[in-house]
Symmetry: C2
Subunit: 225 residues, 2 copies
């Protein structure tokens, strides 16, 4: 049985640099975009540790408030709406459509698994023009536990009707790789610029500098049955 290839969405498939002009306009510095996303991840991880579930759209919004407070920048409701709207309208990284096409052509099953809410995730992948590659688009919101907790990965395996070891999670984030491996999935790391693995976590058997290289490895390993 070949593996089902499950993709993380934000930063792995979709290019968040499209938000840079918006963050530069609001905060005066482009680095605020990464500061905001880092804060969102930190808040998400803290809610996961304390068990106080909050959906990711709300985490994005409150992380934006925190970033504005940290920078001493006024933040209007329109600014916040512009960021949340912007998250729904990202384009895929340039290497993504052809990579998904090759995996599908090889007969592999593809799905997405994201911390975004289901409604947002479907809008994101549809607007990016790549929703049709995935037989399912799963949100961690359904199980009210965010990645890297094991529940979202286990949920995806259940819904895909495969043992969790037959899932391969593809992500550009060390924390998603950590969560997937811990839950029992295989993993594949896309080492996009600035993305590095965590030496505290076992290395996945697939690592590539871009999605094309990751797909080369996946086709070599996961198509055999």
């Amino acid at each position: 049985m070949p593996r089902v290839i499950v993709f993380d969405v934000n930063e792995t498939l979709l290019d968040m640099r499209a938000l840079d002009p918006l963050f530069t306009r609001i905060f005066g510095v482009v680095s605020a975009r990464q500061a905001w996303f880092n804060q969102a991840l930190q808040s998400a991880f803290v809610t996961t540790i304390t068990g106080e579930y909050v959906n990711f759209t709300r985490i994005w919004a409150t992380a934006l408030e925190m970033t504005a407070a940290r920078y001493g920048t006024p933040l209007s409701a329109d600014d916040c709406a512009a960021v949340l709207d912007g998250m729904r309208a990202l384009t895929p990284h340039a290497d993504v459509p052809a990579a998904l096409e090759r995996l599908r052509a090889a007969g592999l099953r593809l799905a997405a698994l994201t911390n975004s809410t289901e409604e947002v995730a479907i809008a994101q992948l549809t607007n990016a023009g790549i929703a049709h590659f995935f037989e399912n688009i799963f949100s961690a919101d359904i199980v009210r536990r965010l990645k890297p907790a094991p529940e979202p990965y286990e949920y995806a395996a259940t819904r895909l009707h495969v043992p969790i070891g037959r899932i391969r999670m593809v992500a550009a984030h060390a924390w998603d790789i950590a969560g997937a491996l811990h839950a029992g999935c295989a993993a594949a790391f896309v080492a996009r610029p600035g993305m590095v693995l965590d030496p505290l976590v076992p290395r996945p058997d697939v690592i590539g500098t871009d999605m094309a290289e990751v797909v080369d490895h996946i086709l070599a390993i996961d198509c055999s049955g």
Copy 2:
């Protein structure tokens, strides 16, 4: 029964800006220091979520490797040792000694609770000249779960022989406030420059812009009872 005042250590009591020249020498930019500390927190939170406990000294070291990989900067063993040594030799924020003195003079019991290992925490507070203020210096390492998980706060309460609601955790980090409140402690937030609360977490009843203001509030609230 008055509350026992329990202090977070790094950034709350001790000023990490002393490491700025070191990070500037290694990475060429001072912002690498915050990037490193953020990565250490992220790695710590991920290990906590996946249940793969790792002590904080190792997290500091591997987060430094990740930061070096991200910046494309060579990192020698001497550089790594210099950072770890630097963490043991931080000075207190200027407002800290007098604040601790006032709390002690009011008869309050004081302790420290940190994610640093016990050996490092004792070295840190001793080198900073403030170890004598604390009847205990607790490390989350003893319970092999890092803040903001509930176990370290519960451990401190047990060792201090008070119900957890009689602990007030003082911290400059929103995530520590979140963990303390979730565990059942009271909390006090020190809004040092760049530090902001998370709107997703209930507001603590003590918030001050520096340690002196926090102590004013604590003396007004926690000495009665």
